[in-house]
């Protein structure tokens, strides 16, 4: 085979900011779609975790946005885009433990500063583009390794 891997499936999901009741619903739906497509369980698991972290970030910090799911022969991509406040210092935000979460988010069990590091740990590639005052776009790539026996969930940690 040569050339780029063909796109198998594309879906768009809307995330509503501050909607705590439904927070996480997109991630469970993404996993449902991936399972239906017969994607490897380890990839479904990692995509679910990446999606959940991205979705929670959107719910906690932005008025909302969308998640685009792209399924290719060789990888799953998740693209998160929002119209939130943006991340002033992306390198700082990637550091484990760095958090700007408000108290109410911490009381819910979030805001430990592990979101972006955990997305990084479960994705094979993570790109973050952010402009303060305009929003953030995150692209996560999870490679499909069909010949591999499922191992620990993504990476050796951060």
């Amino acid at each position: 085979m040569s050339g780029p891997a063909p796109l198998q499936h594309r879906a768009v999901f809307l995330v509503v900011g501050l909607d705590l009741e439904r927070a996480g619903a997109v991630s469970t739906e993404v996993q449902r779609v991936l399972r239906r497509l017969g994607i490897e369980p380890e990839v479904v698991r990692r995509a679910g975790i990446v999606c959940f972290e991205g979705e929670m970030n959107m719910v906690l910090y932005t008025p909302g946005g969308r998640v685009i799911l792209l399924v290719y022969d060789d990888r799953v991509e998740l693209i998160f885009s929002d119209q939130g406040p943006g991340i002033p210092d992306v390198e700082l935000a990637r550091q484990p433990g760095y958090s700007t979460a408000p108290v109410w988010a911490r009381e819910m069990g979030f805001g430990a500063g592990m979101g972006l590091p955990n997305m990084e740990a479960n994705a094979d590639h993570l790109e973050i583009r952010s402009r303060p005052g305009e929003g953030t776009v995150i692209r996560a790539v999870i490679r499909r390794r069909r010949d591999e026996v499922s191992g620990g969930g993504g990476g050796a940690g951060v």
Partner: protein, 131 residues
């Protein structure tokens, strides 16, 4: 260990998924911080022991394919959360034991800790319950 045995050991009752009492849990993880659950647990079929009762606990359980959730300290999630867990097939148990007590009881009966991400400053040491 079966969920039924977990319930007996920590004197818990089923809030949802009572029909799944024969489900096996292989390992357990305890935390109130969902961020830690998401970042550390590296396997499926885990029993989550927590005092956090928000709807996100069930979402996390679903996303991570956890076997069940055991709520400690007498904390109870709201009914819509219980209903969602029931339809999502996530058994929920509740005990008035503290997290320390629940973990201690399950640990001494041989329920091992979940496989997880290596922690900072972690050195070689035993992570198996006594036999």
């Amino acid at each position: 260990m079966k969920l039924r045995e977990v319930a007996e050991l920590v004197e818990a009752r089923f809030l949802a998924g009572g029909d799944l009492a024969e489900r096996e849990v292989s390992t357990a993880f305890a935390a109130d911080l969902l961020s830690d659950v998401l970042a550390m647990v590296r396997e499926e079929g885990v029993l989550l022991i927590t005092g956090t009762v928000t709807s996100q606990v069930v979402r996390v359980a679903e996303v991570m394919s956890l076997a069940a959730v055991l709520f400690v300290r007498g904390k109870l999630p709201a009914k819509p959360i219980v209903d969602y867990a029931a339809q999502a097939g996530i058994p929920l148990l509740a005990t008035s034991r503290t997290m320390y007590e629940a973990c201690g009881l399950l640990w001494t009966r041989g329920l091992p800790p979940a496989k997880r991400k290596p922690l900072p400053f972690e050195h070689e040491r035993s992570s198996s319950p006594p036999t």
